[in-house]
Structures are given as structure tokens and as C-alpha cells.
């Protein structure tokens, strides 16, 4: 890389930093305390629903562990982290999704990272047996006014 290119690249990073800085401030100030509490609570509920005492990354909603950074860097550049956190599958099931993304969605070669990525997905987002119909859950009770 020439010095000129390097300097240009540095400027780009600075611009990006600035954009993200202002964006963060905007988002930060847009969040009311109530929203924050609610969001934290939801994350904690999610963690306990997964059944593991896992810390959740507030930025992505994903479980934090040694392979988190790997999954973040390889998966959520193309699609939302929500696509991970809302799905449940066995290791084999997650492998099938990676294969599908490779075949049809331009997923790059994950190389030696594939194993740890699958470990992470199977550990934190494995299926639970819901039976043929689950109970109604998370009901917010309210008083219905008579008409």
C-alpha cells in the first residue's frame, strides 16, 4: 500500500469513526431509561430462556463467549444478528444453513473457523422440545373496559 493510499484509508476510518460517534450519540439520547430497562430485561429473559447463565452482548443480542467475536465477524456482516438469535437448530442443522448460504447466498469460505462457529451456534441456539402446541406465554394482563 502506498503512503498516499494509507493516508486515504486512515481518513476513511476517521470519517467512519465520526459517523459512528454521532450515530451512537443519537441512538443513546433516543433511548429513554424505560426503553433501556425493558430491553435489558428482555435480553436477560432471553438468556434464561436459553437455559444457560450466559451474558448477552447488548449490541447484537447474541450470547457472549470465546467464539462470539468469530461469529459476529463472519455472520452479521451480511445479515442481521436477529436471524441467528431467533432460530434454533442442532449442530447439524446449523451446518445445513451454512451449506445453504454457501451454495446460494455467496457465503465466503469459513475455513478453520467453521468448527468454532458451529460450536457456538449449537451451544447457544439449540432446539428445545416444545411439543405439538406450547402454552400461551408472556401474557401482558390488562383490564378490558366494558363497551
Amino acid at each position: 500500500m502506498t503512503d498516499q493510499m494509507q493516508s486515504f484509508a486512515n481518513k476513511l476510518v476517521v470519517v467512519q469513526l465520526l459517523v459512528l460517534f454521532f450515530l451512537s450519540i443519537a441512538i443513546h439520547s433516543a433511548c429513554t431509561d424505560d426503553n433501556k430497562r425493558e430491553s435489558d430485561k428482555q435480553l436477560e429473559d432471553k438468556a434464561s430462556a436459553i437455559g444457560i447463565a450466559t451474558e448477552i452482548d447488548t449490541l447484537t443480542g447474541m450470547a457472549l463467549d470465546e467464539n462470539f467475536e468469530l461469529v459476529r465477524a463472519n455472520c452479521i456482516t451480511c445479515h442481521s444478528a436477529k436471524l441467528i438469535t431467533q432460530n434454533r437448530a442442532t449442530r447439524e442443522g446449523w451446518k445445513g444453513m451454512l451449506d445453504w448460504m454457501r451454495e446460494t447466498q455467496n457465503l465466503h469460505d469459513l475455513g478453520e473457523n467453521e468448527g468454532p462457529i458451529l460450536d457456538y451456534l449449537a451451544k447457544h441456539y439449540s432446539p428445545e422440545n416444545k411439543g405439538r402446541r406450547a402454552n400461551l406465554e408472556d401474557i401482558e394482563w390488562y383490564e378490558l373496559e366494558s363497551e
Binding site: 433516543a30 447488548t58 457472549l64
Partner: protein, 407 residues
């Protein structure tokens, strides 16, 4: 390793460090398409959409409508669900937008502007229910991959446009025509411009049916940006993925259309029913060409608490790919007894029908109100999950709301 738990509370600077983790890659998301970048748990606002939609996925955008917000006769544009496979076109010039009709079974290739569609062909308005094939996926066990829709990937709107058949006949349809396929201007999530995001279609018989439309209006207004502005297809009774958005090309095919998400296991169910969790080969999967009978209780919202002497009105919507809904019933005792609801007529085929009832409860306790519809083919919604399928399509299990009756 850096722990980022609750960093928003701690420090804005931390969030920058976090977001900048892979700076160069993020650069391409700074097109202003979807904000905020990677901040998955912050409030996401979708252009032209109510903040009350539940966002399942923001890249690509997928958002559903809570059942109690589907109580209107026609679903308002800002409450209509969004199921995007790719990124909507960022700049749309409706004046210069064109629709090209071609394909091996077209007698010619012709291109129309929207103004030409409006002036050359008669305009029709129809109330048509659109439902995503994967609506209800979240309930399947074992789970199926994809957006985990609850009940809200459905809506009914008044669509205004021209009959697809009028346009196809103007171009000329060869004897061997079997299917039509669409192409749209949305961009593949990978950003690869050579890849089609989704290119599905319907059998020629459905394409030539009088209620298949090329629409530019929804409920009397331009289509919302996320629902296909400026032009889309509308096919009632089929998975909504057939109703292509940001429509710019239709091909008349002499075989089943083979565009993106027509093959493999997409929008397909096992040709023969299978046990839950069974592996099914691609060649044993058949295209979904009919959405099942279904209903939703849209009033009251689940969680209603009432007094023992209080009657509770319920309302809802029922729809089917069949000619019409014949009957809607409700149960307050977990399916032991069913009572009839009053049922309104559909504005036209594929419009949903409203149902109402006044429910009374004898004694205090926890109740669930269940609703089930029966269509003119005699098919009724199941109480438990219908047949398991690998991709989690066609869940039409009866809708349930929770009610507490207090002394």
C-alpha cells in the same frame, strides 16, 4: 476478550469501539439503507411503517403485525407486514419505471411504463389477503430455519391495478405456456448485483385468472416502499412470495419457472406427509400452490381481564384459498364445546371475512378463547400444529388468546 454487556449505559465511546470492530466491512452498509448499523436491540424504525410492528429481522427487513392490530376491515399500509428477501431498491423513479413481458412462451417482448399500463388497460380494485407461506413458523417442533413468524405475516388490503391476464394477452401467450415468473429490482443481501434475490411465480392458469393483478396502489395510496413501490404482483390464495415486489419483468415460461427460491426446499412442502424432523430430499418436495384455511382473533388483545358478569365481544378475520369461509366457531373450554360466530361476507374472493361473537363466562378463572374457521372445501383449522414440514410452512393451527375472569 472485551465484555460489552450493557455498554450503552456505560459509555458512548465503548459503543464506537464495538461498532468499529470490523470497520471496512461496515462501510458498505453506510448507504443509508437501514439504520442503525448492527445495533440489533435498539428501536428500529422502518420507513412508512408503524413502530408497533414486530421486527424479526432488519437485514433483510422482516416485520409482522400483532394480531390485535389486524382488526381493521383493510389492513392500513403502515401496519401491513413486511417480508423482504433482499434490499429494496434505494432510488425509485416511478415515472421512468418499466415492466417488460417476455419469456419463451410469449409471442413478443413488450415493455410498458406505469402510465401505459394505466391508459391501455382497465383498472380494477380488489380486496386480497396476502399471507407469507412461513407465517406461524415459530411454533414448529423441531424448529424450522428462517424468520420465526408468529401469527402476523398476513394482511388484507385493497389493491388497485390492471389484470395480469389483460397485459399477458396483449403481449400474446403461446399454447405451450405453463407458468409465469417475475423479476424485481430488489438487491441480493450479499450486495452481488448478478444474483436475483427472489424470482418466483405461479401456474399460467392462476396468472390468467381475473383476480390476479399488477398493482400500483394499496388502500388508495401508492404502494409503501417496503411493499413493492412502485409496482407489484398480487395473487390471492398463494404464498405471498409469489406476489413479486418492485416488479420490472415477467416471463411466460413453457415449464415451471426456475428462478431464485422456486427450487430446493424454498416454499415447498413434502409431497407425501412426513414425521416431525424427518429429512426430505429436494426432489420429494412440492411447490405450495394453496394457502390453508385460517383465522385470527383480532379483538380483544390477548391478556384481557374481565369481571364474571361481563360479556366479552370478540372479533376476528378468517381467510382461505378456497372459494370462501363457511363457518367460524369459538371455544372457551379448550376445544370441548364450540359455538358459532356471526360471519360477514367477503368483498370478493380472497378478501378476508370478519367474524364476531359475544362471549360469556360462567365462573372466574383462566380461560383461553380459541377460534377455528371452516372453508367451502369443508376444511377446518387444526387445534394442534398441522403436518410438520422441514421449512415450517402452512401453520394454520387455531389462534388462541388468554382471558382472565375475576369474581
Amino acid at each position: 476478550m472485551v465484555r460489552r454487556r450493557k455498554f450503552i449505559k456505560k459509555s458512548v465511546l465503548t459503543s464506537i469501539t464495538a461498532a468499529i470492530g470490523i470497520p471496512i466491512v461496515y462501510g458498505r452498509f453506510l448507504r443509508g439503507e437501514i439504520l442503525p448499523i448492527g445495533l440489533e436491540n435498539s428501536q428500529i424504525t422502518l420507513p412508512g411503517k408503524s413502530a408497533e410492528l414486530i421486527v424479526l429481522n432488519d437485514r433483510p427487513i422482516n416485520a409482522e403485525t400483532p394480531p390485535h392490530l389486524l382488526n381493521d376491515k383493510l389492513t392500513p399500509n403502515d401496519l401491513f407486514f413486511v417480508r423482504n428477501n433482499g434490499l429494496p431498491p434505494s432510488r425509485v423513479d416511478a415515472e421512468n419505471w418499466t415492466l417488460t413481458i417476455g419469456g419463451e412462451s410469449a409471442r413478443a417482448e413488450k415493455t410498458f411504463s406505469i402510465a401505459e399500463l394505466k391508459s391501455k388497460f382497465k383498472t380494477y380494485s380488489l380486496d386480497i389477503t396476502l399471507e407469507c407461506g412461513g407465517n406461524g413458523r415459530s411454533e414448529f417442533n423441531p424448529p424450522a430455519k428462517g424468520n420465526q413468524w408468529s401469527t402476523g405475516a398476513v394482511g388484507c388490503a385493497k389493491w388497485t391495478g390492471v389484470r395480469l391476464s389483460d397485459v399477458l394477452m396483449e403481449v400474446g401467450v403461446k399454447e405451450d405456456a405453463m407458468y409465469i415468473g417475475y423479476y424485481g429490482a430488489d438487491l441480493h443481501v450479499s450486495g452481488d448485483k448478478t444474483k436475483n434475490t427472489i424470482s418466483r411465480g405461479v401456474p399460467i392458469k392462476k396468472a390468467l385468472s381475473n383476480d390476479s393483478l399488477i398493482a400500483w396502489q394499496m388502500n388508495g395510496e401508492d404502494l409503501p416502499a417496503l411493499n413493492g413501490y412502485p409496482l407489484r404482483l398480487v395473487f390471492g390464495g398463494y404464498p405471498a412470495s409469489c406476489s413479486g415486489k418492485w416488479l420490472n419483468k415477467i416471463v411466460i415460461r413453457n415449464k415451471v419457472h426456475d428462478g431464485a427460491k422456486m427450487g430446493g426446499q424454498s416454499y415447498r412442502v413434502p409431497c407425501k406427509t412426513v414425521a416431525p424432523g424427518e429429512k426430505v430430499k429436494d426432489e420429494d418436495m412440492c411447490i405450495i400452490e394453496e394457502m390453508p384455511v385460517k383465522s385470527l382473533i383480532t379483538y380483544p388483545k390477548t391478556g384481557a381481564t374481565i369481571k364474571a358478569n361481563q360479556k366479552m365481544p370478540i372479533s376476528g378475520k378468517a381467510w382461505t384459498a378456497a372459494k370462501k369461509i363457511n363457518k367460524v366457531e369459538y371455544s372457551i373450554d379448550f376445544g370441548m364445546n364450540w359455538k358459532s360466530c356471526s360471519l360477514g361476507a367477503a368483498a370478493n374472493q380472497f378478501a378476508w371475512q370478519q367474524f364476531d361473537a359475544d362471549v360469556s363466562f360462567d365462573k372466574p378463572g383462566y380461560y383461553e378463547v380459541w377460534a377455528r374457521a371452516t372453508d367451502s372445501n369443508g376444511k377446518t383449522q387444526p387445534i394442534i400444529l398441522p403436518g410438520w414440514n422441514p421449512k415450517g410452512y402452512l401453520n394454520n393451527a387455531c389462534h388462541r388468546i388468554a382471558v382472565k375472569v375475576e369474581a
